[in-house]
């Protein structure tokens, strides 16, 4: 057996052991923010290894499916042996990363984790000039709140997706066009709502409020002051009795839509594709009021010892050829604009709206809420992520 696989197996076992062991006495991260260290001037020889923390499906080395492999060519080319640890949610990623601040060299962080990683000093600025692929990234993915802080880039955009509205076409008629269909306790579909199970879902309620209650003055669903958060919480509390299921694991949502336990809910395009492929009558839409979504960024650990491998990896993973493989395998819009013409399914980029900047203008990418309002207000403090976590607990406690 290949040595590398042993390493991965051992790592997996250790991780499993660490997970079951519960809270460990490891000291917390030393959260001294990195005072803008000078990025590496050039990318040199690889250090021989690289440890990656990624969404499942982002870093495939052929072990899930021998035909799905974009890591082995990288290893052969650069000599950087890659080990991967996957995570299921942004919060899990952040916990894994922050409790072992030196373990992972690079991470694929969604916007609701990236800012926390920056603030905690866990990741370092990335010199985009050293990543040739960066020039090919869609412009509307660059310089966003969640990947660029005060003009300093903290990573390379990878891809994106929207949290769209899905419904069973045979059970929900007429076709819904607005999120408000999911917030009406008297709707005929009450009890059948499928809701994403994470504090960040509060932003979805805020998107609804932006339309139904303009007097609240919400201009960014991730910048909510006390009153605005309270309004969103009230809306979600009213929704709670009508929720058929909170989903986190996407197989759970697939199952629920298949057996009719939930008939309308917030989803990812890929889930709809899987359901349609299995013959379940579902359709999705991007409601008129817009939606939340996610955009992932490849970031580099501030304490990495494998900086050259990290830069090489960032360039490899966001290159047109690899980026489209991941986008097709995972089911998302690629970040690299040159990648669409390399797609195996010629319609892939059309299905996922990869190049439609008008589509993405309606998307509020997941961003970690912080006390300094993201919408630029300075006369008021916004509620931070800790407040959202607490609010979500209260909503779900019923």
């Amino acid at each position: 057996m290949n040595k590398r696989y042993w390493a991965v197996t051992v790592a997996a076992l250790l991780t499993a052991a660490a997970c079951t062991a519960g809270p460990s006495p490891t000291p917390g991260p030393t959260a001294t923010p990195v005072a803008t260290p000078t990025p590496e001037p050039t990318v040199g020889e690889g250090e021989g290894q690289l440890s990656v923390l990624a969404w499942p499906g982002y870093v495939e080395d052929g072990s899930s499916d021998p035909a799905v492999d974009w890591v082995t060519p990288f290893e052969t080319e650069t000599g950087c042996q890659v080990t991967v640890q996957v995570f299921g949610t942004s919060d899990e990623a952040f916990t894994l990363y922050s409790t072992a601040p030196e373990r992972f060299d690079v991470v694929s962080a969604s916007g609701d984790a990236s800012l926390r990683l920056v603030a905690g000093g866990f990741v370092q600025p990335v010199n985009v000039d050293l990543v040739p692929s960066y020039t090919e990234i869609f412009d509307d993915l660059k310089n966003k709140d969640y990947n660029t802080v005060d003009g300093v880039h903290y990573g390379i955009p990878h891809g994106r997706g929207a949290n769209v509205l899905m419904w069973r076409t045979d059970l929900v008629q007429p076709a819904p066009t607005s999120w408000s269909e999911m917030f009406d306790p008297d709707s005929p579909y009450a009890g059948k709502y499928s809701v994403y199970d994470a504090p960040i879902y509060i932003a979805d309620a805020a998107v609804v409020l932006m339309n139904t209650k303009p007097e609240l003055g919400i201009t960014n669903p991730y910048a909510l002051d006390e009153t605005q958060l309270a309004a969103a919480v009230d809306l979600l509390k009213a929704q709670k009795p009508a929720v058929g299921e909170y989903w986190l694991d996407y197989t759970k949502q697939i199952d629920s839509f298949t057996n009719g336990n939930t008939t309308i809910g917030t989803t990812w395009q890929i889930i709809a594709n899987v359901l349609q492929g299995a013959g379940v009558k579902v359709d999705v839409t991007l409601p008129a009021e817009g939606a939340t979504g996610w955009s992932d960024t490849w970031m580099i650990n501030s304490k990495t010892k494998n900086i050259n491998c990290a830069y090489k990896f960032l360039d490899h993973i966001t290159s047109a050829e690899v980026n489209i493989q991941i986008a097709e395998y995972f089911g998302e819009a690629p970040g690299n604009r040159e990648s669409c013409k390399l797609a195996k399914n010629p319609n892939h980029c059309a299905i996922f709206h990869a190049a439609e900047s008008d589509y993405w203008k309606k998307i509020w990418y997941w961003t970690t809420p912080v006390a300094d309002c993201l919408d630029g207000r300075t006369d008021v403090k916004c509620t931070d992520f800790a407040a959202w976590v607490k609010a979500w607990q209260e909503i779900k406690a019923g």
Partner: protein, 298 residues
């Protein structure tokens, strides 16, 4: 040549023999050495992790930066008695009690039948039937219930022609699944409890003119009660800590789900404080159970 060797003194006893002799003369060291590993395991791994859990409950964590703040504070415990947590705790207690009572009511007739009525053949079949589900993966069993209770699942399909409908997902489903999953843990001690009752007592009761119900109420039930309490330790504490069943067949939050959610959100200290709640409840429960004589019936 042979002369020379025979003149050598006998070789000194080897290290193994010497240490064996040394140990033989010191029974305390012998016992200590034998128990060091298992006791060490118990103390370090079980009690040690509990101690760390307790310690963690006094820290706080900055949810945004992920920094644990190592300043002892009671903030986590204040949060336990405010906000949604008292409600969640009460709900969990009620569920644990409901599951325990249901398991008890189901286990009594089954245990009685197995111990007193069934032929040895049938008894063996029943014991196997009670134990076999414990071999199946917990997750498989929970997910099977998802399929059974689902809107377009087996139960609704079977009840449909009668114009009836299953409970669907929700609190009733949680109660059903918990009862199903933990029932074997109740049946086995109750069966053993019935088994221990001497037949002569039942005969004496009959001789003295007691009807079967009176015998059951006055003789059998008091004698089997400690076994019931012993079984309830399992059903009660297992329900108290579980989070997978509620998360799979309902949207309701129990203590376990709160711990899981806080853990997932990176708030270890609050999760640690929450974990102490079921721990304290179970400790109190064990004290009561000991009074009721459950420990001798385990």
């Amino acid at each position: 040549m042979t002369m020379v060797t025979s003149e050598l003194p006998p070789p000194p006893p080897g290290l193994g023999r010497r240490s064996a002799g040394w140990l033989h003369r010191r029974p305390a060291v012998r016992l200590g050495g034998l128990l060091a590993l298992p006791i060490g395991w118990l103390v370090v791994v079980y009690l040690g992790s509990l101690a760390i859990l307790l310690l963690n409950a006094f820290w706080t964590r900055d949810a945004f930066s992920g920094e644990t703040i190592y300043v002892p504070t009671l903030r986590n415990f204040e949060e336990l008695i405010s906000g949604p947590y008292p409600r969640i705790t009460l709900r969990t207690l009620v569920m644990a009690a409901a599951v325990t009572i249901t398991c008890g009511l189901l286990a009594l007739p089954i245990g009685y039948f197995m111990a007193r009525v069934a032929s040895p053949r049938i008894r063996n079949v029943l014991i196997v039937a009670a134990i076999v589900p414990l071999w199946a993966s917990y997750l498989i069993k929970v997910y099977s219930w998802r399929l059974i209770l689902a809107e377009e699942g087996i139960l609704n399909w079977a009840l449909g022609p009668l114009g009836l409908k299953g409970p669907g997902f929700g609190d009733v489903a949680v109660w059903l699944v918990f009862t199903y999953i933990w029932l074997p843990y109740m049946i086995l001690p109750v069966y053993a409890g019935f088994e221990r009752i001497p037949r002569s007592l039942l005969e004496a009761s009959a001789d003295l003119g007691a009807r079967s119900w009176t015998t059951f109420r006055r003789i059998v039930l008091p004698l089997v009660f400690p076994a019931l309490v012993a079984g309830s330790i399992f059903t009660f504490s297992l329900t108290l800590g579980d989070y997978i069943v509620p998360a799979t067949v309902s949207t309701t939050i129990f203590i376990g789900n709160s711990i899981f959610a806080n853990f997932g959100a990176g708030n270890f200290p609050l999760a640690a404080a929450l974990s102490l709640v079921p721990l304290v409840i179970v400790l109190i429960y064990l004290l009561i159970a000991r009074r009721l004589g459950a420990f001798t019936a385990l």
